[in-house]
């Protein structure tokens, strides 16, 4: 009999971690596990997200001082910036999920990519509309073909494009592959959006919150803004999981666990 010897013992600890990681990934790929756990997460995350949203919005609308230059119209920042931040963050999630489904053919990644598209589109739409409404009293116009705004409009078309492309194919495996490629190609747009206010002369103000160096926003305005960003991220997660649950149930309808689930209810 062959024993691996000391090298086996030395690698034992990492192998335990690796095994735990693989079990986790394996579970992530398991539809019934994902369906159950997402249901449990949604039960507390959704109320928490809604509470954070209400508190953040009321804080920003009623309890902060107006901007010294823009007056009260600046209060739109508490929805405009979170929507834009999460619309961009959501694109990463969609593109990474697309890459995973393309490379490893992981079914749940494919479902996550497709679930992220409508949520990202809605948030991009919110960012564009609230920005347009904010622009009227601040810049004197609803719309300008400015670098930041145009690149955000392209982001909206990318999200809508992924949704439309999936519907356009009868063969859903080919559809997913095409969507993943489009999502990955579209990531070119993300750094352009970030840098647009620095690269081009723009009406849009530069970022107020910076991770490096000082932010150009007063703490009394920053805290409600951060709370709203957290709330929007949590809402994104909720909508993403809710969309995924529908698709999981739909695709797994012929399997035993879905039948049992339906019979039990």
């Amino acid at each position: 009999m062959y024993f691996p010897g000391p090298s086996f013992e030395r690698s034992e600890t990492p192998s335990i971690i690796a095994a735990a990681m693989w079990t986790f990934f394996h579970k992530l790929g398991s539809p019934p596990w994902l369906y159950t756990i997402s249901g449990q997460i949604l039960r507390w995350l959704l109320p928490a997200a809604l509470l954070a949203l209400v508190v953040g919005m009321c804080w920003g609308l009623l309890f902060t001082a107006p901007d010294f230059r823009q007056g009260n119209s600046y209060r739109i920042i508490y929805i405009h910036v979170p929507a834009a931040v999460v619309a961009l963050g959501g694109y990463y999630i969609m593109a990474i999920a697309g890459a995973i489904s393309l490379i490893w053919k992981m079914k749940m990644a494919d479902i996550a990519m497709l679930a992220a598209a409508p949520v990202g589109a809605a948030l991009t739409f919110i960012a564009l509309v609230t920005g347009s409404i904010w622009g009227k009293p601040t810049w004197g116009t609803w719309w300008v073909w400015d670098a930041r705004i145009t690149s955000m409009l392209i982001l909206l078309f990318l999200y809508l494009g992924v949704m439309a492309l999936y519907e356009a194919y009868d063969n859903k495996v080919a559809a997913s592959r095409a969507c993943a490629v489009l999502a990955l190609v579209g990531t070119v747009n993300i750094p352009i959006i970030y840098k647009s206010v620095d690269w081009w002369y723009s009406l849009h103000q530069p970022a107020s919150i910076k991770f490096t160096g000082g932010s150009t926003i007063d703490p009394s305005m920053l805290y409600p803004l951060l709370l709203c960003i957290v709330a929007f991220y949590a809402l994104f997660a909720c909508a993403l999981m809710a969309n995924m649950r529908v698709t999981i149930l739909d695709r797994e309808r012929r399997t035993g666990w879905v039948r049992r689930l339906v019979e039990e209810s």
């Binding site: 959704l46 949203l53 919005m57 609308l61 009623l62 309890f63 902060t64 001082a65 107006p66 007056g71 009260n72 119209s73 209060r75 739109i76 929805i79 405009h80 929507a83 409508p118 949520v119 809605a122 739409f125 919110i126 509309v129 609230t130 409404i133 904010w134 009227k136 009293p137 809402l235 909720c238 909508a239 809710a242 969309n243 649950r245 529908v246 149930l249 739909d250 309808r253 879905v258 039948r259 339906v262 019979e263 209810s265």
Partner: protein, 66 residues
């Protein structure tokens, strides 16, 4: 509270219509975002329950006829 009255909150020194329109549209879209999957899940579960019931009906029928 920054504002003195409800009227001041609504008016926001002339920026009221802009601010409230922006918040209204945002809440409307967010609500749809969460209600849409909930409605789809409900419809799908009803559909799947119907399938189960039909299967059971077929099963009992075949037992009776045999």
């Amino acid at each position: 509270m920054y504002f003195d009255s409800v009227a001041a909150v609504l008016a926001m020194d002339g920026h009221g219509p802009y601010v409230w329109a922006a918040y209204g549209i945002t809440l409307l879209v967010l609500a749809q975002l969460l209600l849409w999957p909930a409605r789809r899940l409900k419809r799908l579960r009803r559909e799947l329950r119907g399938e189960v019931r039909r299967r059971e009906a077929v099963k009992t029928n075949s037992v009776e006829t045999s």
